[in-house]
Symmetry: C2
Subunit: 267 residues, 2 copies
């Protein structure tokens, strides 16, 4: 029987999970997805995700591939799997990809969204998807600081211990911070080629400390120049973070073997 590689796009509410990656203690999204896939395909299935999101982190557009010889048409996987999955995990898309496709190594870009609710008493309805900052934030220095991140730099300072990256050079080419005045919700959106371990949460936490006046508006510049994690602020809570989208070059879907893979696994 023909073995084919299938790429899934997966949305999940990470609140109840110990992150993406299967682990000994706690239930991971990967495990739940693999169990549903194994049931659907009739054989044990292992999935490889583009990003190993932490416990409590959400995803709208996680991507993950797996191999199977079962006859389910790839575009039918959302229908089949969503009947087997809990409602906090939804498969949004399925497509066949070439055997050399790799969800993690071939990713050329990612979009992350970080949400902050900047009101006195926070939010009940958004409690699992927003970081509550009860003190008013000054937006102008936050926006000024954000501009320093645009470009290709050594982001060594922007990494929690436990990161496995061999190089810490990354490119960020979009960084927006929007305020919805009626709700007090601040939305940070970052687009880059890849991100280091906890990089977005460190950026969000540093922005908040800049907005509170606890860190100067050039904190990012200093950290980029010195590589010093201590120039930056706290790691913002997981619940505010969402992996919004994973991108691939068009050739990944046609002739992946000819693509130069990244030197290392990237997040």
């Amino acid at each position: 029987m023909k073995i084919r590689r299938v790429l899934l796009t997966v949305e999940y509410d990470g609140t109840a999970y110990a992150g993406w990656q299967r682990q000994a203690n706690g239930l991971a999204v990967q495990q739940v997805l693999e169990e549903a896939l194994s049931q659907a395909c009739g054989h044990p299935v292992a999935v490889t995700g583009a990003s190993r999101t932490d416990a409590g982190v959400h995803a709208r557009g996680q991507c993950a591939h797996f191999d199977t010889d079962c006859s389910i048409p790839p575009e039918k996987y959302p229908f089949v799997l969503n009947n087997l999955l809990p409602p906090d995990i939804r498969v949004q898309q399925g497509r066949e990809v070439p055997p050399a496709f790799h969800a993690r190594f071939l990713s050329s870009g990612k979009i992350y969204t970080y949400r902050i609710i900047n009101t006195r008493h926070g939010t009940a309805l958004g409690r699992n998807t927003h970081f509550h900052v009860p003190v008013p934030l000054a937006l102008p220095p936050m926006r000024t600081a954000l501009q320093s991140l645009l470009g290709t730099f050594d982001f060594a300072a922007f990494q929690a211990s436990g990161g496995t990256a061999k190089t810490t050079i990354r490119t960020i080419d979009r960084a927006d911070l929007d305020l919805e005045p009626e709700t007090g919700i601040l939305t940070l959106r970052l687009h880059g080629n890849a991100f280091l371990y906890n990089m977005v949460r460190i950026i969000a936490g540093t922005l908040v400390e800049i907005g509170l006046g606890r860190l100067p508006a050039d904190a990012f510049d200093r950290a980029l120049a010195t590589g010093d994690r201590l120039a930056l602020g706290m790691t913002a809570p997981a619940c505010g973070l969402e992996l919004t989208a994973v991108e691939y070059p068009p050739a990944a879907f046609t002739d992946p073997a000819r693509l130069r893979w990244h030197q290392e696994p990237v997040r």
Copy 2:
């Protein structure tokens, strides 16, 4: 000791609750709020809400009043109560109101929001706050139909059994239906003087059936003309509904005794 009346604005995620109103079976938001208030005030407290939202229905701006002789400054109630309440209930505001103020009888307007996710596979992150309609909806007839609701009519057909209203005449003065194309989220927003039992959910369910082509675009007209519940569609699920705001005339806060109270309790 002086007894004063305090008005709270309360946000809640209704997912885990058996609705607003205290009841024998199941935990109600009112009960949780009353227990926190009783603890804070040091005496049993009963609250009166503006709207008795059903099980699973959410609120951003529920209003509720209570009487107390305790010395907590009214504007401090959010701080005190949010330390005692679970995170799915947040008190957003507290203010002193005159002794004749009444959260339910003096309300002059309400805003309800109903959210529909109109994509094939629904949403994990919005599963508790959206009605999932997997078949594409035709917006133009839905918008046409909505216009029929604008004005003062006898909404007798727009009521589930169990309603206690003595008159079924209501005024709707704003009805918007907005589509966010990137997400497939349809947001219905209604502003009216008051709403009958399940009225917003019947309107939302009827709109969906109009959008599916199962009901004609003049379904609302027919129901208004005939009073026939069967001219309308299903009652849409509770999870899509949010009590967004409750309004009061300015005099309610200054001289409520001079206001003509509504003839009857209104929802």
